[in-house]
Structures are given as structure tokens and as C-alpha cells.
């Protein structure tokens, strides 16, 4: 097929229609889903989700690592606060039944199901650290840094590097020694492991799929991440999660108070 002419180039481009690869968004999302995408290792994605949406992250081959940031969709200066999340929950390893909190004392998302704990301690990787460890950390290279990927995802939502606080990650684990505070890395995932969140506010979700920053393996490794979101219902007062702890109840009350005043509860 010639691409020497405009018509030939157009035919060449259009001949790609319908090509299927593993890592791609499926549009329209099938079977009533609102987001269906496989994210390549070393790549990123982002989405704006309605309140109530249930989004499941699946480690397809056992070496995905999803680095995640959450923002309130129309006021992104309210965002995930990892310190408040672990302090208010009294737990550094949140799992099913725990809440991901904003800096405003509200629930951004609840963790509906989790095969592995959410990793809250080590954040994501940087250009400098990945360059030192693997020889490259640039987003177009073979071992992209999570922060570089999140900068791109943020930029597409009008957000700048200063809008990137410490992130959480899914699938790889880190344990803290209770005596001396030292970290131990846990390759805790397996093919098919998943974590499901429920959006309790309208959310901007940023996701980078790249190796965990303290993964001790000398060679960069990251495999595809599947993302599947469906419409759902936010947590209501009759849900056991609402009253699971006094802190959770007050976080849901703060969230409802804010959304009710805005007329979008």
C-alpha cells in the first residue's frame, strides 16, 4: 500500500481499523461497563468516574503494579491523603472494608474487595531512581518511572507535578518490621489477583502500571494490568461498611454532608 500520496496515506491509516492488541481500551466498554482497558506494563491510564462506580484492577499475569492517585473530579485540590488514610484507619496495610480518604476528612473510595493489601508506604518510582537502577526512567523508555507516568496522566486532567502527592499501589507489598521499622518487600501478587474500589465521590483516577520502587529484582519487570469499571451505588447508611468503625461512620457522614449541601448526594 503506497503512502506517497495523501489518498494512499489515508487508505494505509484506515486499514488499521479493527486491529486488536492486548493492551488497549475497549471502546465501547462491553456488557454495561464504563471503563474496560488493559494497561501495558510501563504505561498509564486515567479516567473520570461517577460516584458509585465500582472499578476492579486485575493483575493479569502476576507482575502488574498499579500506582494510583485519586482526586475529587471537579475540585482536584481535594485528593488522596495517604497519611490521613493510614492514621485514621489505624492501619498501614488497608484491605477490604477500608476507606481511602481525602485531605478533607471525606471518603474518596472504599475498598470492596482485595486479594492483597493496598501498599501505602513506598509511593512510586522516580526518573532519578529508575535511571540509577535500570538505566532509564523516562516515560518512553523500557523502565518508566511511576512519577513520570503520573505526571502525564495528571497533565491530561489539567494537573501539574505539584498536584502529585504520595501515591498508593496495588499488588506488590511492603512490610514494616515492628521492632526497627525496616522494610521487607513482598512479591504478594499472582495471576488473576484483583482489588475493587467503589467511588464514593466523583473521581479523577490516575493509574501508572510500573514496577514497585523497592522491587529488589535487578531487571525491570511489569506485566499488563486490567481495569474494569461498572456503574454502582455509593455506600449508604444501611451498608455495614458505613458503621464499620466510628472513624468510617464520621468519614461517610462528612462525605454525605458535603454532597448534600452541593445537591449531588
Amino acid at each position: 500500500m503506497t503512502t506517497a500520496t495523501t489518498h494512499g496515506a489515508r487508505d494505509h491509516a484506515r486499514a488499521q481499523d479493527g486491529t486488536e492488541v492486548e493492551a488497549m481500551p475497549r471502546i465501547p466498554a462491553p456488557d454495561g461497563a464504563v471503563w474496560a482497558e488493559t494497561v501495558a506494563g510501563g504505561n498509564y491510564t486515567h479516567k473520570v468516574l461517577a460516584r458509585g462506580t465500582e472499578v476492579r484492577f486485575t493483575d493479569l499475569e502476576g507482575d502488574a503494579c498499579a500506582h494510583v492517585l485519586l482526586y475529587v473530579a471537579d475540585r482536584p485540590f481535594e485528593r488522596l491523603n495517604v497519611a490521613d488514610t493510614v492514621k485514621v484507619l489505624w492501619n498501614a496495610y488497608p484491605g477490604a472494608g477500608h476507606l481511602l480518604l481525602s485531605d478533607q476528612g471525606r471518603v474518596l473510595a472504599s475498598v470492596l474487595a482485595a486479594d492483597v493489601p493496598v501498599e501505602t508506604v513506598c509511593g512510586t518510582s522516580t526518573l532519578a531512581r529508575n535511571t540509577a537502577r535500570y538505566g532509564d526512567g523516562s516515560p518512553h523508555g523500557a523502565s518508566p518511572a511511576g512519577r513520570e507516568l503520573l505526571k502525564l496522566a495528571a497533565a491530561k486532567n489539567g494537573l501539574a507535578p505539584r498536584d502529585l502527592p504520595p501515591s498508593i499501589s496495588f499488588f506488590k507489598g511492603v512490610r514494616v518490621d515492628p521492632d526497627d521499622g525496616r522494610l521487607t518487600f513482598e512479591n504478594s501478587s499472582r495471576p488473576g489477583a484483583s482489588i475493587t474500589l467503589r467511588a464514593e465521590m466523583p473521581l479523577i483516577v490516575l493509574v501508572a502500571n510500573t514496577a514497585h520502587p523497592v522491587d529488589p529484582r535487578p531487571d525491570y519487570a511489569c506485566t499488563p494490568l486490567d481495569v474494569l469499571a461498572r456503574p454502582g451505588t455509593p455506600t449508604r447508611p444501611d451498608d455495614p461498611l458505613w458503621n464499620s468503625t466510628p472513624e468510617a461512620r464520621r468519614a461517610f457522614l462528612n462525605t454525605a454532608d458535603h454532597l448534600t449541601a452541593r445537591g449531588i448526594a
Binding site: 485540590f77 491523603n81 495517604v82 497519611a83 490521613d84 493510614v86 492514621k87 485514621v88 489505624w90 492501619n91 498501614a92 496495610y93 480518604l101 485531605d103 478533607q104 476528612g105 471525606r106 493489601p117 508506604v121 513506598c122 509511593g123 512510586t124 522516580t126 526518573l127 532519578a128 531512581r129 512519577r147 501539574a160 507535578p161 505539584r162 498536584d163 502529585l164 502527592p165 504520595p166 501515591s167 514494616v176 515492628p178 526497627d180 521499622g181 525496616r182 522494610l183 520502587p213 523497592v214 472513624e247 464520621r250 468519614a251 462528612n254
Partner: protein, 216 residues
């Protein structure tokens, strides 16, 4: 009630006969900030004992580059700060190094208290109480910093153990009157401090007290 003002003394020699750039007592519950040139040191002294000092540090020439708890923890493989700990930036560069520490262990996980998180941790009756985030916002605004610029901070002198099952909490402190930590600036930095006003947990022994900031 008016907010207490830090007592700033720009002196050449302090009461111990040491030449200093500045030597300040930050009142209980108050904020403080300073630009510290590369190579200079800041000593934070816990005057009354068990006083949490919430602390953020920025590259003075590019405040988008700021303290990162995760990068600091990655770099040293440990959640606690003490002598030889390096406070790393979000671009994994060195901002400050702990050169001396007579307390022994400081927190990186607990973040700052806020009016908002106080409603979750204790109840809505705490809403009128002062909090570290308000100190950071008020003091940070003097340097053009806003809400977007606040991230997980260091808590000097605050004791936050993590149990084997992940249970974590602010418990009785390990500090005492006169204990101190000294940090050397590895580049020109802006330091933003809240002398924590929290009265609902033991981070200040339920009695916030002054701290001393000495820049050499």
C-alpha cells in the same frame, strides 16, 4: 485571642557561646519557616519534652520539588528517621541530612493533624481546635505555597509504631526536655514547620510546648 508571634533573635552568638545565624523559640501551637542555605544546619530542640514538630522542606528555588516521605523511606529502607537519614525529594534528590539526633526515632507516616482529620479521629466537637495543616497553610502562604503544596510531612519527636498486622498509631513519645535533632541542608531549602497544637492524642503529651530553632 491573638496568635503568639515567634520570638526572632538574629544574634551572632547564643547563650552557649555558639555562633548562629538565627536562634528562635517558636511558641506552642505556632508555625515557623526559614530559607536555609546549602551547607548550613538547623537544630530543632524539644524544650518541654514530647512535642511533635511537623516539618516540610522544599527546594528553595523550585518548590514543586519537595520532601517525599515515600522517597525518603525507599532510600533508607526504613520508616523511621534518625542520624544519617536523608530527607529525599519527590524527584529522589537530597534535601537535608540528619547529622545529629539525641531522641533516636522520628515519624514519617502519620502526617499532619487537621481540623478535618480531627473530626474523623475524635469527633466533630474538635472542629474549633487549631491544627498543623492550618499552620502550614498560613505560614506557607508567605512563600507562595498553597494547599496543593502540602504533602505527607516529617513528625520530629513523634512516636508512631507499626505492629505486625499493620496496626499503627500515635503513642506516648520517646522524647524529653532538651533533646534535639540537627539537619544539614544539602541544597538551598525552604523549611516549613508547625509546632503541633494537637491536644487529643499523646504526640504533645496533651500539652503543646515551645520548641527552639537554631540555624548555624
Amino acid at each position: 485571642m491573638t496568635a503568639p508571634k515567634p520570638q526572632q533573635r538574629d544574634v551572632e552568638r547564643n547563650s552557649e557561646g555558639v555562633d548562629v545565624m538565627s536562634d528562635v523559640v517558636v511558641p506552642a501551637r505556632a508555625p515557623w519557616s526559614a530559607v536555609i542555605a546549602a551547607g548550613r544546619s538547623l537544630t530543632i530542640t524539644d524544650l518541654g519534652g514530647n512535642q511533635a514538630v511537623d516539618f516540610l522542606v522544599y527546594d528553595a528555588h523550585d518548590t514543586a520539588v519537595r520532601y517525599s516521605a515515600p522517597d525518603t523511606i525507599q532510600a533508607q529502607g526504613n520508616i523511621y528517621l534518625s542520624t544519617e537519614s536523608v530527607l529525599m525529594s519527590n524527584e529522589h534528590t537530597r534535601l537535608m541530612t540528619v547529622t545529629a539526633d539525641t531522641c533516636g526515632r522520628h515519624d514519617t507516616l502519620g502526617g499532619a493533624c487537621s481540623k478535618e482529620s480531627n473530626t474523623l479521629r475524635y469527633g466533630h466537637h474538635t472542629w474549633s481546635q487549631h491544627a498543623c495543616v492550618d499552620n502550614f497553610l498560613a505560614e506557607g502562604a508567605k512563600h507562595g505555597l498553597g494547599k496543593r503544596d502540602l504533602v505527607s510531612n516529617v513528625n520530629w519527636f513523634m512516636n508512631v509504631p507499626v505492629e505486625a498486622d499493620g496496626t499503627l498509631g500515635i503513642v506516648d513519645g520517646r522524647s524529653a526536655p532538651g533533646l534535639s535533632v540537627t539537619l544539614r541542608a544539602e541544597t538551598d531549602v525552604l523549611v516549613l514547620v508547625s509546632n503541633c497544637p494537637q491536644i487529643n492524642n499523646p504526640c504533645n503529651g496533651f500539652d503543646p510546648t515551645p520548641v527552639r530553632m537554631t540555624v548555624r
